[in-house]
């Protein structure tokens, strides 16, 4: 804990490793990795499909248990945080995870019912009017029409659903937000809009961000620090500018070249999202 600011925190991973399966079918999804996140982090994680990005993110929120190594939050291990109800709820409130899956809403509940649950349980907000105010505020923040709250998941577009997923996490005002490919399933113009919304919200509420993606433009736009993963291993890390301009590892170079070849000037990392924000 470096400052007296109430929103500050420290999350560290030391030699965290994850294996799936046993025997000859064992897959090492994450090789031992060390990491530190705090309220000022804007960490981007990239890597090809299957490189262990999601597994890393899911271990932090306790959806997977590390095979070895320790993840600790505020000097206390995550396992410990999750071991009893009170501290589990506290941890869930402070560290939120938005999954890459856009089917993360119960098809039988309206968005209103889905989004108010974390507010009730994690924030203990009970009064109806306060719930409504907060839901409306968060919707406005994410440029969502509050009228959509009364809809069911199949009745909105993919981009709207993704923003509701963000709303569900952001409504509890976490200190650390972990986004797992939240824009990958969206088309390019919506991607830009959602990225802007996340960036603005994170900056305004001064929360830490870990942003997982396999697309380079999104990550470079939203984060200041970059982690490149391959086969579960962190092959390169550093400030975004440094990694993009002078990549050290051959794999990173390969990745950058692939983007340089495929991306048109319009969707290049620097110019893309800003332009789209103007259009928004």
């Amino acid at each position: 804990m470096t400052s007296s600011d109430g929103t500050d925190f420290e999350l560290t991973l030391s030699a965290v490793r994850k294996d799936f399966g046993r025997g000859h079918r064992k897959v090492t999804a994450v090789q031992p990795v060390d990491l530190r996140l705090d309220a000022h982090s804007e960490l981007g994680v990239i890597g090809e499909s299957g490189s262990g990005k999601s597994t890393l993110a899911r271990m932090i929120v306790g959806l997977e248990h590390p095979t070895s190594g320790v993840i600790s939050y505020q000097g206390r291990s995550v396992e410990d945080w999750l071991s009893n109800r009170a501290s589990r709820l506290a941890y869930r409130q402070q560290v939120q995870y938005v999954a890459q899956d856009t089917t993360s809403f119960d098809p039988r509940q309206t968005f209103f019912e889905s989004v108010l649950v974390p507010l009730r349980i994690l924030r203990g907000v009970q009064s109806r009017s306060e719930i409504r105010d907060r839901l409306e505020a968060i919707a406005e923040d994410l440029s969502l029409d509050p009228a959509l709250y009364s809809r069911y998941p199949h009745q909105v577009s993919g981009g709207q659903r993704q923003r509701f997923a963000l709303a569900r996490s952001l409504v509890v005002e976490p200190r650390l937000l972990i986004c797992d490919e939240v824009v990958s399933a969206l088309d390019v113009s919506v991607q830009g809009a959602v990225l802007n919304l996340i960036k603005r919200h994170v900056a305004r509420h001064r929360m830490g961000l870990m942003f997982v993606a396999h697309g380079l433009p999104a990550v470079t736009f939203i984060s200041s620090e970059l982690l490149v993963m391959r086969h579960g291993e962190v092959v390169e890390r550093g400030a975004v500018d440094r990694v993009v301009n002078e990549p050290q590892h051959p794999y990173t170079r390969e990745l950058l070249e692939a983007y340089a070849d495929s991306s048109s000037p319009e969707s290049s990392p620097e110019s893309g999202p800003e332009q789209r924000e103007a259009a928004l």
């Binding site: 959806l63 589990r88 089917t103 119960d106 889905s114 569900r168």
Partner: protein
């Protein structure tokens, strides 16, 4: 002829119309048989002219205007008994369908959720799963004989016995559905939102996996009628004078050997008609259900909007 069939098939494979035309007629026809049985059961005292469990005339009178289906070996009115038989069958059918559906959903959910988990919970789940597998290996009649033997002849014992015979299908259907729902991302989202496993099971897993079990309910109802009649027929069903179809048939066998067919044939016809009707409805209702649901919802919504 066959050539034309094959030729036709090959030229134009039978294409189902993309959307079948639904109308209220179809909906009515789907529900009619089931509703008819329920109505007979409900209004049995109004329909039946005599008390079903008392002697009202000489024994084995042939059908006449006074005794529509004749009288049986002890002089009870076969028509009244047959009508009240519908009531007995429906009572058992409804209770067993509810018990085995609710019980099957709860057990199936538990098995599905505990599968591949360690510790006591996992063991209990596997045990329940194994027991339900063994249940299907026992013919229902034999299970009925044993359970009624153990618990003594009573309505409660019969309900337990028939539920045990029929619960397995519901458990399996629900378990398969739970295994599917279990992988859904919204369960992880619920966990991250702080919901407890129990709440998440009740709020998300159960509502999203009861579909097949609910659709199976009319079938359970029909099978209950069949098993009840069969147990009654071999003599381990309801107690003696109760107008139960299977028991009526078996006690009419001596009359049948004497050439008096009416005490046996009418309950038999009613068993056949009712199980066929239930089978028909249980097949037709799921077909018209989407239409019905859509229309009811639409009407409900417009009403609400007009009020607002």
């Amino acid at each position: 002829m066959a050539e034309t069939l094959i030729a036709k098939t090959v030229q134009a494979p039978p294409r189902r119309p993309a959307r079948k035309r639904f109308g209220w007629l179809r909906v009515t026809l789907a529900f009619l048989p089931l509703v008819a049985i329920l109505v007979v059961a409900l209004f049995a005292p109004l329909i039946a002219p005599y008390d079903p469990v008392t002697t009202v005339a000489a024994s084995r009178l042939p059908p006449s205007a006074a005794y529509l289906f004749g009288t049986d070996a002890v002089g009870m009115d076969v028509f009244s008994r047959t009508i009240f038989g519908a009531r007995v069958a429906v009572q058992f059918g409804v209770i067993v369908a509810l018990c085995s559906t609710i019980g099957g959903i709860l057990i199936g959910t538990f098995i599905g959720l505990s599968e591949s988990s360690r510790g006591v919970v996992g063991w209990i789940g596997r045990l329940l799963n194994q027991i339900s597998d063994y249940l299907i290996a026992i013919p229902s009649i034999i299970l009925g004989i044993v359970v009624v033997g153990i618990m003594g002849s009573s309505d409660f014992a019969l309900i337990v016995a028939i539920t045990l015979c029929l619960i397995q299908a519901t458990i399996k259907l629900t378990r398969a559905e739970v295994l599917r729902v279990r992988r859904e991302a919204y369960l992880e989202a619920a966990k991250l939102a702080g919901e407890s496993p129990l709440r998440s099971a009740l709020v998300h897993v159960v509502p999203n996996s009861i579909g097949p079990a609910m659709r199976n309910m009319p079938l359970v109802f029909g099978n209950c009628v069949i098993i009840l009649a069969s147990l009654g027929f071999i003599g381990v069903g309801v107690k003696a004078p109760t107008p139960e179809w299977g028991y009526m048939i078996s006690s009419a066998l001596s009359s049948l050997m004497l050439g008096r067919w009416w005490p046996a044939i009418f309950p038999a016809i009613f068993v056949a008609l009712s199980v066929l009707a239930i089978a028909y409805s249980s097949r037709a209702i799921p077909q018209v259900w989407p239409y019905l649901a859509a229309n009811v919802k639409k009407r409900f919504r417009t009403e609400r909007n007009s009020r607002a």
